[in-house]
């Protein structure tokens, strides 16, 4: 069954895109991530114009984030206060990011920036998650107990910053400066890379803010809901690159896949999940790094003068 997409202006096989949505949805349910970093490159690979891929992925990210965030909220795994503090920075970051995209495109450096950002962030974050997962797994094997990341009495330079408030759900009393900056930075990168940013946000919350792992995924999803919604509207208004038909197909596959992913995640151990996520992220990073260093089949490419990427 084929369908003509009104914005992407191409005829696509519905089944392939349903399957793609489901596969990415499965992973996002499994790991508690939006999955934009997988979906955007895959859509481009299938021939969707990059600008449409970036904008339309946001709709898929929004659907799976809402689904995940609601579930986590019902289980009291969302630090709403922390989410809003990060969001405050996030909205500013998105604005700056969209402006940066404009400037980079003018200078002809956009594509390179995106590739390098993907390789760097996915590479670093993937490696961190993998190392951490392997350590936790070893530790769990030795002691037979779940590994806790947070050690009481640990102090860092973050404790010295002003504007402290209490985050009850996270059991933290910290300055609002780091969460705002993290939110701003992640949203900035999201706008440039066309992703939700969960895979940067989650490690930042664990390692920099030292939030309890239990609330990290829920809070990250909660924040991403708003950032993704904001991104969709921004893309729709500025670039007219959101394809609502493609979005509907991806979302349909995505919400079904996400439920299977969530079910699967309940059967897997936390540290195994982290190792798996690390591996998936590293595979994507490697794939992009290979593209950057190998001689391209065709040195030339046609660029469009409209749209984001």
């Amino acid at each position: 069954m084929t369908l003509y997409l009104p914005i992407a202006e191409m005829s696509v096989s519905v089944l392939i895109y349903l399957a793609l949505g489901a596969a990415v949805g499965f992973l996002s349910g499994l790991f508690g991530i939006g999955g934009g970093f997988l979906l955007t490159p895959l859509l481009t690979f299938l021939g969707v114009p990059p600008a449409v891929a970036v904008a339309t992925s946001s709709a898929h990210v929004l659907a799976s984030s809402v689904s995940g965030a609601v579930t986590h909220y019902q289980r009291n795994n969302v630090d709403v206060k922390m989410g809003f503090v990060m969001l405050a920075g996030g909205l500013v970051g998105t604005f700056i990011g969209v402006e940066a995209v404009h400037l980079l495109r003018k200078a002809g450096l956009f594509e390179l920036t995106v590739s390098l950002s993907y390789v760097t962030f996915l590479g670093v974050v993937g490696t961190l998650i993998l190392i951490e997962g392997v350590n936790a797994w070893r530790h769990a094997h030795k002691t037979g107990a779940a590994h806790s990341l947070r050690k009481s009495g640990q102090h860092s330079w973050i404790d010295g910053l002003p504007l402290k408030i209490r985050f009850h759900r996270s059991k933290l009393y910290i300055s609002t400066v780091p969460p705002v900056i993290i939110g701003m930075f992640v949203s900035f990168m999201s706008a440039i890379m066309g992703i939700g940013g969960g895979f940067i946000l989650i490690p930042a919350m664990i390692y920099l803010l030292r939030m309890p792992t239990g609330v990290v995924v829920g809070t990250s999803l909660f924040q991403i809901v708003f950032v993704a919604a904001f991104a969709i509207i921004l893309h729709a208004v500025q670039n007219q690159t959101v394809d609502i038909v493609l979005a509907a197909i991806l979302i349909t596959g995505g919400v079904v896949g996400a439920q299977f992913g969530t079910a699967a995640s309940e059967r897997l151990r936390n540290e195994h999940l982290r190792i798996l996520l690390g591996v998936v992220v590293l595979i994507v990073a490697t794939r992009m790094a290979v593209d950057l260093v190998t001689t391209p089949g065709d040195l030339y490419s046609i660029g469009s003068l409209t749209g984001v990427s």
């Binding site: 202006e9 594509e111 729709a236 046609i302």
Partner: protein, 265 residues
């Protein structure tokens, strides 16, 4: 009765002989049209074919295979600006280092002819009428940061045509026009599913011994219809509402999934 018929036939014979014997044979010209004036782009659109057909007026061609005339059919989409980028290796990485902007280039271009155009027509005529990929007027709007020599410009132009051909947006069919009988000819032009939506212009040229005898122009409209049209118009004319609807749709789908498939916590 029979006598009258005979007389009429005789008169006609005399008249036709007279006209044939007059000083000059009537000048040939071409008339043509497309099988469809309007192509609807609906949700089931997977590309289509249009038939361009026409006739040579006052044809002196003895048969379809004689090859007295050469016909070229050009179908092109609305012109649009385009940028071509070239990668090169910088410190081990392949990155776009130079680019070329072309101010206006047909978004779609199909050329079909009775035989390769360069075999029968003058370069000047082909250039003037933009018949054939090599004869398109490609004006570089502004040079990339590196500045480009004529050789580099030629490389960019060649790459652009190659890339457009790969996307099936530039199509060449060297023997795509066929004569059926002494004066009637036809050509089928394939419109791929990714054809840019907009008006198409079909141009038909008639050549004899390398001389351009006549041309004919016709229009084909490519238009979105039904739900496709509604969605596309909404995205363009009411972008904020369109964005909000997308957000609501995505959020509702996520919410529905979370509620419908909820397991006990």
């Amino acid at each position: 009765m029979r006598r009258i018929v005979c007389a009429v036939l005789f008169m006609m014979l005399v008249l036709s002989l007279m006209s044939a014997a007059s000083a000059e044979p009537a000048k040939e010209s071409v008339e043509a049209d497309a099988s469809t004036r309007q192509v609807a782009i609906t949700s089931s659109f997977t590309g289509t074919e249009i038939l361009v057909f026409g006739t040579v007026e006052n044809s002196v061609q003895p048969s379809a295979e004689a090859g007295t005339y050469d016909v070229v059919v050009v179908v092109e989409g609305a012109p649009a600006p385009v940028v071509v980028r070239r990668k090169s290796e910088v410190g081990g990485l392949w990155i776009n280092t130079s680019s070329m902007h072309f101010a206006s280039l047909p978004s779609y271009y199909a050329v079909a002819s009775t035989r390769p155009v360069d075999e029968f027509a003058d370069q000047a005529v082909l250039d003037a009428n933009e018949i054939g990929f090599e004869h398109l007027r490609m004006l570089p709007a502004r040079l990339g940061r590196s500045g480009a020599s004529p050789a580099e410009l030629a490389d960019f132009e060649k790459a652009l045509i190659r890339l457009k051909e790969r996307e099936r947006l530039y199509v060449r069919s060297n023997f795509g026009v066929t004569f059926i009988g002494r004066s009637l000819f036809r050509a089928t032009i394939a419109l791929p599913p990714n054809v840019p939506v907009g008006p198409l212009v079909a141009r038909v040229y008639l050549f004899k011994e390398g001389r351009l005898l006549g041309q004919y122009k016709s229009r084909v409209m490519l238009e979105r219809e039904g739900i496709e049209r509604y969605i596309h118009d909404s995205a363009i004319t009411r972008p904020l509402l369109y964005g909000i609807v997308t957000v609501i749709m995505a959020a509702a789908a996520g919410l529905a999934a979370a509620v419908a498939l909820r397991r006990p916590a």
